[in-house]
Symmetry: none
């Protein structure tokens, strides 16, 4: 028995007036999602708990079966690991942006004009040479996609209890990083990151790439904004918990990071980009293929969340329809007599508020031994009448592991 | 107001292909169970949490209102108490089997040919005389039914963190009992049980009963296998929690043990055997009678679970129908104006996997003041649409106690 958990990032939504008070998922033409609902058992799911909008990091931890309220330790380390960096126990990592600030450190552009990967890579090579005063702490800085980057502090006596330097908007001053508790670790960590930010700034201001950018009238990438201090969560990997082998098919660094920490392999798929332009069919093929060598596959699709944050419910509907075609391919090509398929979202992202919301997400599980219910459609309202009733995000992994015969009895 | 909680061991199941993808409970003719659903409020229930297959010990603790994840302390002590032994705080108890091993300790028969109660009793009398090296630890060994027995170590500095000697199957060697943590208590406990196993073996090999068994070509009972080290869980008895008096009607030692630890009386019923041959009607009569002197009665029926572990869904259907007739008797004879009746299972036992599964169980509660819903049948799927929605095993006791006016307000 095998399992596929398909996570549609931010697919769930709230009713939208312009859609006659329906959700994008209710409007979309989605025969394959409906087929999973029709042949499966459905429900609604609170990733964390009712009314709590989940961050993608906490939600993904929950979907892998962990109690995010207990194990969550910040986003930075997960993002860094997903970007291919090594983060060890005790290290503290941050998500970073190349940004444009003026001489008073007022943020002019949080993304430095969505700087190209090439420019960011050249700047990064210079930043790597910066030396810290305290020799017992080392750092790794890596640019990822466009303006995005990650910073890892390696050493001891580091803390995630520090504020962000990224103010999250333009027109305001870069925040100094401050300790959030009274521990010496938090103070030291804040000092180190502030020191790095200042030294990075000097290197960036003087860099030939930025001189070239000024000449070309492009925003200079003269500051590194940091946010989301995180450590590696202390979790037991899924292969140890269940004795299973699993892989993750997804392009988003965060999701890859969570899956890697959870002991899953990462399957690279050409054309999978974590954007609305991702190659849905390539992901579908990779999923079917990955199932051969694994007990289960996590298939994550980021696209719907991206356009929800832009409030573009029309494109959201189109992307749900592409997502549905991807699922149709999977349903055609896997052996449904020996495969369980669950589909859900990691959170509701409202096209109206353009943010994550605490409303539950729909979930459906099909497979040979599920107690089929009479839900005929996969959407937020139809699934709320299903046989699963209302579960938590951290329930879905034990449920799937139970169906494929990998769960352990509690008690005797 | 009085309450009856009827626990049908392993009655819930998954859809079975040969039953046209229905469950045994969905197929069975069960007018009385349906009557409880029709006149009651229904739901589904996770004994521990969704997807987690519950052991019978943890499930029964949950059904009595305890948080099994917090209080569970192994099965051995509960089984020993249910078999009539005294187990004190600090004691460690094991479930044991009379077994047949060869000279290399390869297990040939885990049940020594399902040795008779008489032979087991005679062997036990000799085992009782074995002396341990360490005089501060005493032991009690008692045979129960056929090959089954229990062992209690009385003393201090004992631990449940020891492995089983029972390998759980034939053709492999008896396992040495090993400490599962680094505490001196675990090491001492493992040493003592290993010492006992060796001394028991010598006594058994030389015993006239076994010589007689060899002559009669019956498997010798020449080894005692141990498993399920447990202490008495640290729980507040129900009479203290709710100020109630309750009794348990059930034959399974484990259930009796849990009920006794929870402060309930045990009502013996002639003909109640914990097997498919149990006297259902005698149990029904005893339940009605016990209600007179008690606030509530736990009525436990083991039969359905036994045949589920054998994969015999046809007999499961027949037993559910017998179980239903037992309930019909109860419905006829109690005063429904002053009685709440809840019926549920302690776990799903799949006739296909022949094991406990993590799927939820149906639950229905009838009584004068329940909010009747529109569920008309008592089965896994019908109940999932009921007014209780999805609850946890540990919720059912507070719900019943509240209906009979025995719950305490939380807060003021």
């Amino acid at each position: 028995m095998k399992a596929i958990l398909i996570i549609a990032d931010g697919m769930a939504d709230r009713p939208i007036k312009e859609l006659n008070w329906k959700t994008p998922l209710e409007i979309a033409n989605k025969p394959s999602l409906n087929m999973i609902a029709k042949t499966g058992v459905c429900g609604i799911m609170d990733l964390i708990s009712p009314g709590i909008p989940p961050g993608s990091d906490a939600a993904t931890l929950a979907l892998l079966g962990y109690d995010a309220l207990k194990v969550y330790s910040g986003r930075g380390a997960l993002e860094a690991i997903g970007s291919g960096l090594e983060v060890f126990a005790g290290d503290v990592a941050f998500r970073c942006n190349f940004a444009t600030v003026n001489e008073k450190r007022i943020v002019l552009d949080r993304r430095a004009g969505r700087i190209s990967n090439e420019d960011a890579a050249q700047l990064t090579r210079s930043l790597e040479k910066v030396k810290l005063k305290q020799s017992h702490v080392k750092f790794t800085f890596k640019n990822t996609i466009q303006h995005r980057a990650v910073l890892v502090l390696h050493g001891s006596k580091l803390s995630t209890a520090v504020s962000d330097s990224d103010p999250g908007k333009t027109g305001v001053k870069v925040s100094e990083i401050k300790p959030l508790d009274k521990s010496p670790e938090a103070k030291q960590t804040a000092n180190i990151v502030n020191e790095l930010m200042n030294k990075f700034r000097k290197v960036l201001e003087a860099h030939p790439i930025n001189k070239k950018r000024i000449e070309s009238k492009m925003p200079t990438a003269n500051f590194i904004l940091c946010r989301g201090a995180g450590k590696v969560p202390n979790i037991k990997p899924l292969p140890q918990v269940y004795g299973v082998k699993g892989t993750c098919i997804g392009a988003a660094a965060l999701v890859k990071g969570v899956c890697k920490v959870a002991g899953l392999d990462l399957t690279c798929v050409k054309g999978a980009t974590g954007t609305p332009q991702t190659d849905f069919m390539a992901k579908a093929k990779a999923t079917v293929q990955a199932l051969e060598a694994n007990d289960f596959v996590i298939l994550h699709v980021k696209a719907m969340d991206v356009v929800s944050h832009d409030g573009d419910y029309k494109q959201k509907i189109e992307l749900i329809e592409k997502f549905d075609k991807m699922i149709s391919h999977i349903l055609d090509d896997v052996d449904l007599d020996v495969t369980y398929i669950a589909v859900t979202a990691d959170h509701t992202t409202s096209c109206i508020t353009r943010d994550h919301e605490g409303d539950p997400v729909p979930v459906a599980i099909t497979g040979p031994q599920v107690r089929r219910d009479d839900v005929m459609k996969f959407d937020e309202r139809a699934c709320s009448k299903g046989g699963l009733n209302r579960i938590r995000g951290m329930d879905i992994m034990p449920i799937l592991m139970n169906f494929i015969g990998k769960s352990k009895k509690f008690g005797a």
